[in-house]
């Protein structure tokens, strides 16, 4: 869902983030041998923005995301995430971001509350903070008796919402969501986006990948990766105009057609 862009403000903050951008890259590149997975990408993401990171399988999204999360060192180019340098301050980056993927996010053999306690502890929150935040999160999730169930017994829609709550439990500046809604029923998928919207209104920056093109419409801005490059970046409405397309699906198709990379 688009919002008026007024809640997206570039603000400088106490961690020494002079530009005010939550993510900032310049010619960021990653090569594996002679294969260029990410090819000189440059973009900025503002505080509180919902930024959609789209592209075909093999376009380089995961590699780019791993560099931004401080898990992989770039070959060249520069980048700052939450104000920290992606070469030298990877540990600081990890402390200031949240991450959720469809594949792994929660410990299935722990309850919802135990997961929150574990992740809060990992991120160095004290017991008092963990307690308050757990109460807040459970209230927002609207969970009743389910909060004491092992995660593996939760329906997929609820599990996904809990995973998101856990990924923002330590109040990160940015949360990276890697295909967060795969396999979820249509109502749960929409409720999930409503949670994303609330988080963004609270000032958390959202960086999200998805294969659902209707979800691209919910982002403030969307980038499209083709063969390691960012070939288009704008608001959904501007992209539709630029590509003379009725919806984001058509935008995606016209860009993906340009791909030359055959992924073995």
């Amino acid at each position: 869902m688009k919002s008026s862009d007024n809640h997206i403000t570039s603000s400088s903050d106490s961690t020494g983030n002079p530009s005010g951008f939550m993510i900032e890259t310049g010619n960021l590149t990653k090569k594996f041998g002679d294969f260029t997975a990410v090819d000189h990408i440059s973009f900025q993401v503002s505080k509180g923005e919902i930024f959609g990171f789209l592209g075909a399988n093999g376009a380089g999204k995961t590699t780019a995301m791993r560099m931004l999360c401080g898990l992989l060192s770039p070959t060249s180019g520069k980048g700052r995430v939450a104000g920290f340098d992606i070469y030298k301050e990877q540990d600081n980056i990890k402390r200031n971001i949240g991450y959720m993927s469809q594949r792994f996010s929660l410990y299935e053999d722990l309850t919802v509350k135990e997961n929150m306690r574990l992740f809060g502890g990992i991120y160095g929150m004290d017991n008092k903070d963990i307690k308050t935040k757990t109460a807040d999160s459970l209230q927002e999730l609207g969970l009743g008796s389910e909060q004491n169930l092992l995660v593996k017994y939760l329906p997929s829609g609820i599990k996904q919402k809990v995973a998101f709550a856990v990924s923002v439990f330590h109040s990160p500046k940015i949360v990276f969501l890697d295909e967060p809604t795969g396999g979820v029923d249509p109502i749960a998928r929409r409720k999930f986006w409503e949670m994303i919207y609330r988080a963004s209104e609270q000032g958390i920056t959202i960086f999200v990948t998805t294969h659902y093109m209707d979800e691209a419409e919910y982002c403030n801005r969307v980038s499209m990766m083709v063969d390691g490059r960012i070939d288009a970046l704008d608001s959904p409405v501007n992209l539709r105009t630029q590509f003379n397309a009725r919806n984001m699906d058509e935008v995606f198709r016209s860009l993906a057609r340009k791909a030359k990379r055959i992924f073995p």
């Binding site: 997929s156 109502i187 209104e201 993906a256």
Partner: protein, 299 residues
């Protein structure tokens, strides 16, 4: 005779009812879509039909063969692509194909026609170990392996999950070509837009079938008017509309909200809001059918 007949099948895992009295048929040369979210029971049904799991209750047959009593015969005539990639990762592309051909007493050459269109796309990498292929290539190889013995029924469990929209479209075009070669296909997907590509679909949730028909009929059967509504800030508009008792449901759909009303006569949308009547999509139908069903909690 239908290719697949499912008659009142139920299956529970301890206290979880994975399938709750399911019945339907898949016709000859039909692409039948099983549409539903994770945990709906799709994989359990596939495992019963491919003779890998016994139902607690009910019967099923594939090409007239009983899934319990004639499981050996069934295994020779069906192709199964499980949701989880299950080829041998340390064999090459070519080795995997030859292996599966051998298991079924055939050879790659014998049924090459059937897989040719798909295989030529992965052939440049035939000497590569399967574990080192990208997701899209693995998916194509898995389909070739499921086809190598020329099955008459193909079972595809979420073949397009996690696949980008362009590759998904290509995959469905391959399925259409297979159908023309006299293969019946039962395919599951969580992507509702793919429902339109099937001849017939079953919407399934929490082990129960919500609706079975052609996708066109399911859409035509949507009983209410839907309005596509757009405001300056759709999220705030959504919160506003949900509070109104005349609004029956309100959900985000791309750049619009889809709204249905309890009371068509008295309700007025706020000013400066774009309002257009719109056609239902499969997702609208699914949402309406599941709306008042609580999510299943199993303990």
């Amino acid at each position: 005779m239908p290719s697949v007949t499912i008659n009142n099948i139920s299956k529970a895992y301890s206290s979880i009812r994975a399938l709750d009295h399911i019945s339907f048929d898949v016709g000859k040369r039909e692409i039948f879509g099983l549409i539903g979210p994770d945990g709906a029971g799709k994989t359990t049904l596939f495992r019963i039909l491919t003779t890998l799991l016994l139902p607690d209750d009910g019967t099923a047959s594939v090409e007239g063969l009983d899934t319990v009593k004639q499981y050996r015969e069934i295994r020779n005539i069906v192709g199964y692509m499980p949701g989880r990639f299950s080829l041998y990762q340390d064999l090459t592309v070519e080795e995997n194909l030859n292996f599966f051909a051998n298991v079924f007493n055939t050879s790659m050459q014998e049924n090459y026609d059937l897989i040719k269109d798909i295989y030529i796309q992965i052939e440049p990498f035939k000497k590569r170990k399967t574990g080192r292929l990208s997701g899209g290539m693995k998916q194509k190889l898995a389909l070739c392996c499921a086809l190598i013995h020329k099955p008459s029924v193909l079972f595809l469990d979420e073949p397009t999950t996690g696949v980008d929209p362009v590759s998904r479209k290509e995959f469905w075009e391959m399925l259409k070509r297979l159908k023309q070669q006299n293969i019946s296909i039962l395919v599951s997907t969580p992507y509702m837009d793919e429902a339109m590509l099937c001849d017939k679909i079953a919407l399934i949730q929490s082990g129960k079938i919500l609706s079975i028909d052609t996708p066109e009929n399911i859409i035509a059967g949507y009983p209410q008017k839907i309005y596509a509504v757009k405001g300056e800030n759709n999220y705030r508009l959504l919160e506003y509309l949900r509070k109104n008792p005349d609004v029956q449901s309100c959900y985000i759909f791309g750049e619009y909200l889809h709204v249905t009303l309890n009371n068509e006569f008295d309700f007025r949308f706020p000013d400066k809001v774009e309002v257009n009547p719109t056609k239902a999509s499969i997702e609208d139908c699914f949402i309406r059918l599941m709306d008042h069903r609580p999510e299943r909690v199993s303990d």
